[in-house]
Symmetry: C2
Subunit: 334 residues, 2 copies
């Protein structure tokens, strides 16, 4: 593998000049520029971005930490950050935590050792030690799908409480009074916890007694949704509607209900959260709370670059979420 030195020798110039034709061609005479270009061709010269990063202390790489790329909503935000990074010629290293805190911890460390310029994190817990530590050390990062509304860190998210409230309110207005919630475990997702708060408050505001048996927590998976709903439905006095804390769970819930012989939506109304692409491709089309995942990724990335350049104070961006009414919810039976 040839280096700048090889090119320089061959072109009869110094390495400094070669470096210049690469980084600021306009500062070198056209003639020499071409001479160097020719030499590079001959040497089959390949630029070494690692060496560059080593001296400039900028790797032009950012780390993206998410729970799992298999949830389409994270795939969407991921492409948002990739697209933004791409247009700035930045690469992104992707890491899955699978909702495990230790993994989040180790990923942060590894990525920092790799000298990423910044971190985009969808954290299981925004108040954890990893995050605190990042703040203390002034390392550039921004939280995605954040539940944080103020403080000394940058984040972008939506109002999860409100989303939960909206979803539940929709169900209440349809006449439902037994409303279950299939939630992602609160221990692995603060978002889920916030949504539950909204759900609960809405129930309260409508004088509907809260029944703790109607809350089932599970891991955030299709099977988790299926099992949760089955559990609820097999209890005495089952719900007529269920709010799922994401679409992924909701899709699973649909399957679970059907396996128990329920007709959808007549026998059970279901509302999800996220509005992933396929939500409107299933039958019945899923009523859900839309959150702008792609934009969140894009915006988060943009914010991160501002952090890296230290040209911004900490801000918490709250994006709009909205209820999308489709066919999976209907009036309460009877």
């Amino acid at each position: 593998m040839s280096t700048m030195l090889d090119v320089a020798k061959l072109a009869g110039v110094s390495t400094a000049t070669v470096s210049r034709v690469i980084n600021s061609p306009e500062t070198v005479r056209v003639e020499t520029r071409e001479k160097v270009a020719r030499a590079m061709k001959i040497c089959r010269y390949k630029y070494n971005a690692l060496a560059r990063g080593f001296v400039t202390k900028k790797s032009n790489t950012i780390g993206l930490i998410i729970p799992t790329i298999n949830n389409p909503v994270f795939a969407e935000s991921t492409s948002g950050v990739q697209d933004y990074a791409d247009q700035r010629n930045i690469q992104v290293i992707l890491g899955n935590t699978y909702y495990r805190y230790e993994k989040e911890e180790s990923l942060v460390q590894t990525l920092r050792e790799k000298q990423v310029d910044g971190l985009l994190i969808t954290s299981t817990n925004p108040r954890s030690a990893v995050i605190k530590n990042l703040i203390d050390e002034g390392f550039p990062f921004v939280l995605l799908y954040s539940t944080i509304k103020k403080g000394v860190l940058s984040a972008v998210g939506i109002d999860n409480y409100q989303g939960g409230y909206q979803a539940t309110d929709h169900l209440v207005k349809l006449g439902h009074e037994r409303i279950g919630m299939a939630a992602g475990s609160f221990s692995i997702s603060d978002r889920s916890f916030q949504r539950w708060h909204g759900y609960r408050q809405c129930l309260k505001d409508h004088n509907i007694a809260y029944d703790r048996d109607l809350l089932v927590q599970s891991d955030y998976s299709l099977t988790g949704g299926r099992d949760s709903v089955k559990k609820m439905l097999s209890a005495t006095n089952p719900p007529t509607a269920v709010f799922c804390s994401n679409d992924y769970l909701a899709l699973g819930a649909m399957k679970g209900a059907r396996e128990l012989g329920y007709n959808l939506p007549e026998d059970l109304s279901i509302v999800g959260f996220d509005d992933v692409q396929i939500a409107s491709y299933v039958i019945p089309e899923l009523t859900t709370i839309r959150q702008p995942a792609y934009e969140m990724g894009k915006l988060g990335a943009e914010l991160l670059f501002q952090c890296i350049k230290k040209q911004t104070k900490p801000v918490q961006l709250m994006l709009e979420s909205s209820l999308i009414v489709r066919d999976s919810t209907t009036r309460a039976p009877g």
Copy 2:
């Protein structure tokens, strides 16, 4: 940010020793080891993996190039890759080509400049210049979702021709004679092309005339599938069944058919390709050709590491694909 030198000074040892406690602790006396550990704590020392990569010429990073992370099948193989890489303490940089060749080209270049140790590529065209070039220069890489069966490169894939044949055969056996194909554009996917070959051969083997109007190519998207099927269905003499070259298209096709008032599966049988997770969560559950995406990613990564260590000759691994019959296909009407 403190360096090894700071630590060394503080501990009263040389940088070599510090380096040793990091990379081969067993070669240094317990006492000094602890002394160094303490010093690292005090300095809040952070290891610089970039500098290390610079000297060892190993970045412990690989590049993963896929069409788009938004297709769940690629998300699955991606997590296969990540999981394997993770257990070897390797990071993966992810890049989307969006099925564009130029993007594939530029990604390969950028990632090589970043000194990735190897590349995992889901190529739009395995016979293109980028790939040839990689071979010529002996750069370690392996193709994922490969259609290549022999040659001087490593790859893992399935027999797409056979998959296409199987899918079509299933439809024929159900009595269908007007069988359409909603394909991903051949220009962006050799896989789609192979599947079409299988489809066509199967038709031929059963003496069913090939009707070119029944082939509709589109980009690989939900809307692509929807539009394709609508186009077919609105023609004179529409098909009674359609083979979609992936599940993503199939999901879109379901929606398209319904929008035209078709009942599924009575009025139209649909078979997909991939068997993504949600395929069995939609109604009717999707009949499809299963390909082991997660395993493919994992295996591809494993193969890549062997390539990197140069402890393997080029091999093309062909994984099993199989027809999964579910509810989206039924006997031809009439």
